[in-house]
């Protein structure tokens, strides 16, 4: 049974979650691509394109599936629902047929991972403190 107190805390946290202001796609400096189409981005996040144009393997970092930024990113930038990506990633991971993106706890950890991992890609909400990464333009 779900504890009522726990349920209230969860609901309160959800209601107090600030809305996502903007979403910026970033990559490690070793990725040579500065712009991607929505189709290319979908191929990357659905694990159908595994390498950058210069041959560097793509390493994807994501936030937990219920993080507002992740949910907004899926809907606005990929035109996918978060549960669709979960299905694809879980199927790959637990059937042995592939690997899924690496999940990190928060935006600071995601930014740090993209900065330091060769070929990494991720997303952030603000660019004000973002340094030493490429910002990727998404072409509609």
């Amino acid at each position: 049974m779900i504890n009522n107190k726990l349920l209230k805390i969860v609901l309160t946290v959800l209601l107090l979650s600030p809305p996502v202001e903007a979403i910026h796609l970033i990559s490690n400096v070793t990725a040579d691509t500065r712009s991607l189409s929505v189709s290319q981005l979908r191929r990357i996040y659905t694990m159908r394109q595994l390498y950058w144009q210069n041959g560097t393997p793509i390493v994807i970092y994501v936030l937990p599936s219920q993080a507002p930024l992740h949910q907004q990113f899926c809907k606005d930038k990929l035109a996918l629902f978060p549960y669709q990506l979960d299905r694809i990633w879980q199927k790959l991971t637990f059937s042995g047929y592939g690997v899924a993106p690496i999940q990190v706890a928060n935006q600071q950890a995601l930014l740090q991972a993209v900065k330091t991992t060769k070929g990494a890609i991720g997303y952030v909400e603000t660019l004000s403190e973002v340094k030493d990464v490429n910002v990727i333009q998404i072409d509609d």
Binding site: R43, T46, R48, Q49, A67, F81, S95, G96, G98, I102
Partner: protein, 408 residues
């Protein structure tokens, strides 16, 4: 003799293949240029539930409330270099009478990324590979990645679980995607499953004292998702053969079985609604077994329709309707009853299920599922070749289950 498709590819002995795999991985690990912590991924899951089946031995013989709904798994994947990866998963399953309880090596494989471009991917897998041909076949034991606690028995029959879940051999996955045709996946696999004595008991019953062997099986499937569409369509085909070698003292006789299975599927994923269906035809040929010279060639048919509605971000409801006929020319089971001299009731000729379920996400990695099934018929009760009309004395029976799951 029974006929079946025969290909040139032969699977090798699994223990020998495992040794080869280990040598191969070691060689690559030693020669790897650098070890990156992102190359190693470890994931797992734990799920425990309670389940109850009335008027049936589906879960246990005394039809009591049961905790035999345990699923635990851990997997690891290591990228050896740009072209090769090794992965394996061990699971512990306890589903009561549905399949034998115990640990299993779910998959253990070497992946060769043979070709990749922006639009194409060609991958080959060697070792123990999972069945990836039906909508939920590769995630049937993964509590949070399947649609319900008990998945549609018409397709994912628990009694055939250990044979249908995968095998030792090889698989190929060819993927293509672009903005004009969308996404196309072609899968092919060839392999065989080692059937233990306990697994054999589930499939053919404890009165059969001989040895059941799975010969080679071949499976292929193709899936297509139109560009930017929520729909996905698929076709699959399976061809497999089994041989039973009678014991010196036995109730049954040397025999061959052929099992062929063809499916067509559709999946829709919208913001609030999801829909999936699989319809199939199966051919089940029995030569021998009950007595020398016995021959039976049945065409069975079935389908399920399933829909999920997302009530809130965390809460969804699920409804499903399933129908299965073991012999399409004997849907009401009158011939079955007549042929058995009245020993097997007519309702063992079919299996139907209507279910309602609810799913609540307690967090990004915690979920609670609950469901109720109104079952009808005994055609999806183990052992399939030895129906038990005493333990399953009623045509209508019910199952409910609640399961809590965590994954990482």
């Amino acid at each position: 003799m029974l006929t079946s498709f025969k290909l040139m590819i032969r699977p090798i002995n699994f223990s020998y293949a495992l040794q080869l795999l280990c040598h191969f991985c070691l060689a690559f690990a030693v020669s790897a240029k650098e070890v990156n912590h992102d190359d190693l991924q470890i994931h797992g899951f734990v799920a425990q539930g309670i389940i109850d089946a009335n008027h049936s031995n589906y879960i246990n013989s005394d039809t009591s409330l049961s905790l035999e709904l345990t699923e635990i798994g851990i997997n690891a994947s290591y990228q050896l270099n740009d072209d090769f990866r090794v992965a394996g998963q061990a699971v512990y399953l306890n589903g009561g009478n549905r399949y034998h309880a115990g640990p299993r090596i779910d998959y253990l494989l070497l992946q060769w990324n043979a070709f990749h471009s922006e639009h194409w991917q060609a991958n080959f897998y060697f070792g123990r590979v999972k069945n990836n041909h039906w909508l939920y076949s590769s995630t049937r034991d993964i509590p949070f990645a399947r649609p319900s606690i008990i998945i549609p028995q018409v397709v994912y029959f628990d009694g055939f679980r250990d044979v249908a879940v995968g095998g030792d051999g090889a698989a190929m996955k060819l993927r293509y995607s672009d903005d004009d045709v969308g996404e196309i996946d072609f899968n092919f696999s060839r392999g065989k499953s080692a059937i233990s004595e306990r697994q054999s008991d589930v499939i053919i019953g404890e009165l059969a004292l001989g040895k059941l062997d799975h010969d080679l099986d071949m499976q292929a499937s193709i899936y297509w998702q139109p560009p930017f569409s929520g729909w996905r369509f698929g076709l699959s085909a399976l061809d497999s053969t089994f041989a039973y070698q009678q014991a010196e003292v036995d109730n049954y006789f040397d025999s061959d079985f052929v099992y062929q299975f063809y499916t067509a599927s559709a999946l829709y994923e919208g913001e609030l609604w999801q829909f999936s269906m699989e319809l199939f035809q199966q051919r089940f040929v029995t030569e021998g077994f009950y007595f020398p010279g016995f021959f039976q060639d049945n065409l069975g048919q079935g389908y399920y329709l399933q829909t999920r509605y997302q009530l809130t971000d965390k809460l969804s409801i699920l409804a499903r309707h399933e129908r299965f006929y073991a012999d399409k020319d004997d849907k009401n089971g009158s011939k079955l009853k007549q042929k058995s001299g009245g020993r097997i009731p007519s309702y063992f000729a079919f299996h139907h299920d209507n279910m309602l379920g609810i799913s609540y996400d307690l967090g990004s990695n915690f979920r609670l599922n609950a469901e109720y099934h109104w079952m009808q018929g005994g055609a999806r009760l183990s052992p399939i070749v030895q129906p038990d009309p005493i333990a399953n004395a009623q045509k209508n029976w019910q199952v409910w289950a609640i399961q809590l799951m965590y994954w990482f």
